[in-house]
């Protein structure tokens, strides 16, 4: 429980920590999702997380 009064953390996940376990490439190629013209990556999901 975040007891702070002025600033609430939505996610404190340290992205850099994912470097140790990441890079498997199991996630979907972003251009196969919907865009084909304007690449966004952060809206993709992690295959490992989905299956864990």
């Amino acid at each position: 429980m975040d007891a702070k009064k002025h600033i609430k953390t939505v996610t404190g996940r340290i992205l850099k920590e994912t470097a140790e376990k990441g890079g498997c490439g199991g996630c979907r190629a972003s251009c196969q999702s919907a865009c084909k013209t304007s690449c966004t990556v952060a809206n993709q999901s992690c295959e490992k997380q989905q299956n864990s």
């Binding site: 600033i7 999702s33 690449c39 992690c46």
Partner: protein, 455 residues
Amino acid sequence: MKNSKIHKFAKDGGYFIIDPPSGSAHISDKLAFDMLGELEPPLPENTPERVYGIFGGFSVSEIDECYGELYGLYKGGALFSGDGDCRRYAEAVSAAPLKALCLHVSHDCNLRCGYCFAGTGGYGGERTLMSPETAAESIDFLVRNSGERTLLEADFFGGEPLMAWETVTAAVDYARSREEEWGKRFKFTITTNGLLLDDEKIDYINREMCNCVLSLDGREETNDRIRKTLSGGGSYGAVTPKFQKLVKNRNKPGFTDYYVRGTFTAYNLDFSEDATEMARLGFRNISIEPVTAPDDRPYAIKREHIPRVFEEYDRLYSIIKNGERDINFFHFNVDLKGGPCVIRRLRGCGCGGEYAAVTPEGELYPCHRFIGAKEWRSGNVSRNGLSREKRDYFAKTHIYSKTGCADCWARFYCSGGCNALSYERYGDARATDGESVECRLMKKRLECAIALNAV
């Protein structure tokens, strides 16, 4: 200090703070929001003297309390964290094995859309279809170059892929028949304008394609102004009922993903109306993207349109947030608590390395958007692999080697954007300026996405 900037924005009465390299997201009150604007790392343990003067309307204890919370996050690596080892990871990453192919089974199209980036199907060349044999060779090529990967993707694209339906089914059936032997699993997707859809194709797509992208621009007048048939008529009436039928019957577990994907242009800057119309038609998963076109085209989105487009994104945000329509808008999705790892975020789409496109003749390109630019031809599926030189080039194309990205707050969200678009715009796949129309719209969409998903 470079790369340790945070990003903060106010939206809809909320105050949002992002620390890009750590992936941390926070919601604050106005005092903390304003105080952060006055702070630069490294932060001292105690409240800097000048802060009391700036926020004179608050008590000393309140200022200390607020500063203490910010300092705690700073010490914990959730504010002003800096990119740290990310640059080293980016330099160390080498070309990855192939994961996905975009199969251009048709360089022909049965529509003549005014904004088509593919030269209305031919990509500046002959109108041709891929043979089933070349499709099978492409599948073999993907497997041969996929290393230890077990999950592979192939997207049927064009032109209009349903014009090469025999090739589509041959490729799927061939891959499925050998999945077990290869120890691989295929995910297929298809992007279609829907004109040739019938019950048989709908059943097949809903059985075999884990995702499908259905091209429709929204309202009938929007769609038919630019998405025209060969005879010059509108396509809305012919395709909409087919898309509705496909989506209604799309219920096989693991095969329910779809997006109805539209393009907005200078002709429909009120594109939230198009999203609303799509929702009214029964489509929930919607993507409406800005047209990519040179400024001299009458339909191009130009700098002068940016404020109007921002207003429209805000309208769409409100429609979704207030529950006026049940819409899953592709570009308002962001997984703040998960999503791709940092390695993935350094290089974006993976074009030219783990992702490539194949022409009907089996020629390889870094991605579908590079096709037609002969200088980017990277090999052939039947003769040789992807050019080592180009694979290495794209392996080293990341947020730190693209100009304009290294200091941008959105770098770990858009991952440098589309390399093909950079090449089209600037003649350099590694060029961006952060203030281009595309970059500014991307950042606006991300703010909407963060605000929607943070609360």
